[in-house]
Amino acid sequence: MLTIRVSEERVIAIYPSDKIQSPVHLSIGQEAVAAGVCRAMRPTDHLHGTYRSHAIYIAKGGDLKGMFAELYGKDAGCARGKGGSMHLVAPEAGLIGCSAIVASTIPVATGDALASRMRKDGRVAVAFFGDGAIDEGVFFESVNFAVLKALPIVYVLENNRYAIHSRVSDRHKQTRLCRLAEGLGLKGRRYNGDDAIAVYRTMSAGLEKARRGAGPVLLEYMTYRGRAHVGLERDFQEAYRYPKEEALTRKNDPIKALAADLVKRWGAKRKALAKIADDVAAEVDAAVSFAEGAAFPAPERLYADVFKEVPPA
């Protein structure tokens, strides 16, 4: 969680230098969802996400150097500079892809789960998406299929209350989004997405259920976006935000809340936490210098990767 925060704060610091030449969708304030969800997953479980991809990439175990190099458009980036911030990928860690088309990885994750069922590989697939994705028809089509075939998938709905500047209530009469798929036979549940430990626990239970063959699971985690939809701004003053909304939705920053909780309920030592913070800062430093030093792709890389080479027969 802290790695996500520190990395994204570093992105903010770097951004004005124009070294990151592509838009960034930050998860600042929403880290507990990605952290809890990914921690509950096995490394071999597959995750499919959106353009808001830094948090899940880090949480799922993607290499930090590869992420910063990708943001810098370098050849050493996790997508060799071709994907950028919106399209992080870490197959070795189980992050199968991130898409900038809203809802588009929901069916992809569902098909991943279909393959797992066919192959009996014991994996659970996870589709990670926002409250906007549930507007798209493919969400319902995918859920219908997953329910029909009892697929091992967990649909994780990260509800940060906005799709860009559009409120959930601007788009749905039923604002308790976890209920939207009920008619299809999938009863979702809503949880506090700002409590990393609660996310971890509920997600673990969801994964367990999906893994044992009981069919798909839908979990909605409520959180709040700390920055603008895209870019660095704290746009709380903009007309679209309800005034004081953040304060109403949560008392504390999720990271501070977790730290406090760890100390209070789990007996963590402040010193140990400080050590973690130092380690994280060092790791981020290293990743940034790696990215700075890495090379841009060679010009001929433009034409590479359209097709994968066909293996000899």
Binding site: V108, A115, D305
Partner: protein, 343 residues
Amino acid sequence: MKTLKYGEAIREALIYAMERDPSVFIMGIGVDDHKAVFGSTKNLVEMFGKDRVFDTPISEGAMTGIAVGAALNGMKPIHVHIRADFLYLAMDQLCNIAAKWHYMFGGKMSVPLVIRAAIGRSWGQGAQHSQSIQSFFMHVPGLKVAMPTTPAEAQGLMLAAIADPNPVILFEHRLLYDLSGHVPDPPAAIAFRLAAVRREGKDVTIVANAYMAVESLKAAEFLESRGISAEVIDPVTLVPLDEETILASVRKTGRLLVVDSGWTSCGVSAEIAALAAEKAWAALRRPIRRIGTAPVTCPVSKPLETAFYPNARTIAAEALALLGLSSANLEVPALTTTFKGPF
């Protein structure tokens, strides 16, 4: 060598691949029913079971994404559409996801997916059930596209598509399913990047694929009777395109007529005409001509429908016009199919 119909040849390719590769499976509306997609999936559900051959909800968008996801996780889905018209609902998954996953992730991911879609003239199906939209997929980089014409190609390209680690779309013209031809025994894959010289000639090059190649051969026969020697080139794979074979023919004859089963504007025929105008210009002795379906929505009324589609007669007329000859009183048979709906 044996003789099979086009639909049977596809079926044999599917059986061949499914017997050898447990990751291959078939999904799509009606693949397990008694009509079996022109017979091309006949009895496969009995042979391979419901897990490997299954009907789907009518959800082309998500089902395409589901096929992509299964492909990403080690399976080899073959997603079947009885009409290419339904691909409009799958465009996002095909063009934004399948086509881009390999490139966008710097070569790390790949989507070994096969799409089959029937195109072309049918029988009074009209506006929304007869479209030939292959050009869309020739426009967006990242998809391999083929339009097999013969049973051997249908079989060989199906095997190649299944072996390919990339998304491949196979367009099957519905008037071809019943045509017979030799196929190798055992089935053999045909490498992509294929343009077949269907007939050699020296006066004019007719580039035409799938069912249009069949009609063009009839036109060429007729032209022969008028003393005109037409070469028929069939760009069987559109992506990758065997440019050299097309260009070599144009350079030889100096005259090019392009025929396609789709609309001409921004169509396959536009691309091939543009290609020749770029790369074989010096050899051209006459303006290029193109023919496709009329630039309108497909009508049902028989006389209008007949006039909507290119056929041997209109192809021959275009070739004659290209050569500056009159095309009055052509006795070319207009259409020789016995195909009669509904599919």
